[in-house]
């Protein structure tokens, strides 16, 4: 897809991969709206993008809140126009340190699903009709191998990512032929605050940098027409295709 002038909304945009995606999209002349719960880090990323000549806006919202979705989509479209690209990067691990399912409160699982699954569903639903009418659009779900492998202690997060993958797949099947595409991307282990929360003892030198991963993801977005809608790519496949 043509990124120059495209309107993009990235959730989880104040740090990690979301912020890196925002910087990379803006570098390629997309008009970017970044979304995060906290104002301070978000403002810093937006200011940095603007200082380097990009167009970016920051909106404070919790994508796990039902009431937040239409205000977010409306304000974003007012700022950058009808959305062409929606990246679901915001997600929560749930309670840390991570714990086994037998120790997970039902409410904590529900909260993880609200943020990682129901939020992306609501946001997609609010945006996708406009994409269908215009015959173009790309929705990216940022996923994890915890959604494929049943790692001990990653249950709540893993269940939410497995379901997000299936959500993307089903949207793709239902909207085949409309010009609106869906893709699940597993970026692999990256050196982010979220990774440190989940695995505080990990050796950071083995972790990928979010900026490099973001550049590959944006390369993929640019050549999205060559991939089947609804595909799920892991980090090795992302590197190969990009």
């Amino acid at each position: 897809m043509q990124l120059e002038g495209a309107a993009a909304l990235v959730t989880g945009g104040s740090r990690g991969l979301g912020a890196a995606l925002g910087r990379e999209l803006a570098r390629r002349r997309a008009r970017v709206v970044l979304v995060a719960r906290g104002r301070r880090d978000l403002d810093a990323v937006v200011a940095e993008i603007r200082a380097s000549g990009g167009e970016a806006y920051g909106l404070v919202a919790d994508v796990g809140q039902k009431d937040a979705v239409h205000p977010l989509v409306g304000a974003a479209a007012a700022l950058v126009g009808p959305l062409d690209l929606l990246a679901h990067d915001a997600s929560t691990l749930g309670k840390v340190p991570l714990r086994e399912l037998a120790e997970t409160e039902c409410e904590d699982l529900a909260r993880v699903l609200e943020v990682n699954l129901v939020g992306p569903f609501r946001l997609t639903k609010a945006v996708v009709g406009s994409m269908v009418l215009r015959g173009r659009g790309l929705v990216l779900g940022i996923t994890s191998d915890a959604g494929v492998v049943g790692y001990p202690r990653w249950g709540a997060y893993g269940v939410s990512k497995a379901a997000l993958d299936h959500l993307m797949r089903t949207w793709a099947a239902e909207l085949e032929g409309t010009g609106v595409r869906f893709l699940s991307l597993d970026p692999g282990e990256m050196d982010t605050a979220m990774h440190a929360e989940a695995m505080p003892d990990a050796d950071r030198s083995n972790l990928a940098s979010p900026a490099e991963v973001a550049a590959r993801v944006v390369d993929l977005a640019q050549s999205i027409e060559s991939l089947p809608s609804g595909a799920r790519l892991d980090s090795a496949q992302i590197a190969r295709v990009a």
Binding site: G74, A75, P82, V128, G129, S130, V132, L133
Partner: protein, 338 residues
């Protein structure tokens, strides 16, 4: 006709054929079978703002309803109401305190606007300029604003109740209601039948101001934008003997205003200030999908440009007898020659 008192999932469809002079009782899912390949359906893709803002002034409380965007995103026309609630009819609401240019209205902690002008038509109709712009303005508008409410409803509307499935830029201050029942699946069925779907963005305005003098002037001039793809779609439909079907009166106004000079729709922005009623000869739109409107409203007047008044009266009477529901969340009518 009774109003629909809450948003519903389905709609009945009153099929009115101005040529055959027939009226038939159908359902919205029948729409694809009533259209043909090469017809084009034009929808208003404006999302609906939470345009009602509770404010305070030195002279007392007001409700400001944004009526339409001005030159910058900080400039808006607005209609002011006095204290009261949405459960009262607008005409029963007390008038707002009379404000003069230079006075300020505060909306909560994070939003304020200066009165820049007061209309000679009505002291309720004012030009506002918000102190905030950009993200701060839009975030605050969405936090402080509520959708314009209707006194006949059984409860207050949330923002999602007043959106269509395909809205994007928030230009409308009241819902472009004819499009609300059109889901993504139905649009897909229409496309598979060969019906084109095109868009305009039209800043649909307020339906009621509470001031009879001002109400008589509604709709106020409204901003619209026609994308190049819509000009092409209309041209293609015309070339293949297809019909142009407008979804809602706002689309009729946008397309006819766009073609006002020479009968050709042009891409780009404009302001629709025209009044469409009996005797108006549509140059672009062949028919429309709209609500079931009552005589005496500006919507009903507009229909007279598409069908003779006796047929419209008969259609309305039949709809009432068949139990159709009216107003924003009511049933639909299709006024189109077969």
């Amino acid at each position: 006709m009774k109003p629909a008192v809450w948003p519903r999932d389905e709609a009945r469809l009153l099929q009115v054929d101005p040529m055959a002079r027939t009226v038939a009782d159908r359902r919205l899912p029948d729409l694809p079978s009533l259209l043909r390949a090469n017809d084009v359906l034009v929808v208003n893709d404006a999302a609906t703002l939470p345009a009602s803002l509770s404010g305070s002034t030195r002279r007392g409380p007001v409700e400001a309803r944004l009526a339409g965007p001005g030159e910058t995103d900080r400039d808006w026309t607005a209609v002011l109401f006095g204290a009261g609630s949405w459960r009262q009819r607008t005409e029963d609401r007390p008038p707002p305190p009379e404000l003069s240019p230079g006075e300020w209205i505060r909306f909560g902690d994070e939003l304020s606007a200066e009165v820049r002008g007061v209309s000679p038509v009505s002291p309720r109709l004012v030009d506002l300029r918000f102190a905030e712009g950009g993200e701060a303005l839009w975030s605050a508008l969405y936090r402080q604003g509520r959708p314009v409410q209707y006194s006949y409803l059984c409860g207050p509307l949330a923002l999602w109740h007043v959106q269509t499935a395909y809205g994007s830029r928030p230009w409308a201050v009241e819902m472009p209601s004819a499009g609300r029942p059109l889901g993504v699946a139905l649009l897909g069925q229409l496309r598979r039948r060969g019906v084109g779907i095109a868009t305009v963005t039209h800043a649909a305005g307020l339906s009621s101001s509470g001031d009879p003098g001002l109400d008589a002037r509604l709709p106020l001039p409204e901003r619209f934008e026609v994308p190049p793809s819509t000009v092409e779609a209309i041209h293609a439909a015309r070339g293949a003997a297809g019909r142009v079907l407008a979804v809602g009166t706002s689309v009729v106004r946008a397309l006819e205003a766009s073609a006002a000079n020479d009968g050709h729709v042009r891409s780009g922005r404009g302001v629709a200030a025209l009044r469409i009623s009996a005797g108006f000869e549509p140059r672009v739109v062949d028919g429309l999908l709209t609500g079931v409107h009552e005589p005496g409203t500006s919507h009903f007047e507009l229909l007279k440009a598409f069908a003779a008044e006796p047929l419209l009266e008969e259609a309305r009477a039949r709809a009432e007898a068949w139990g159709y529901l009216g107003h924003e969340f009511g049933d639909l009518s299709l006024i189109l020659a077969g």
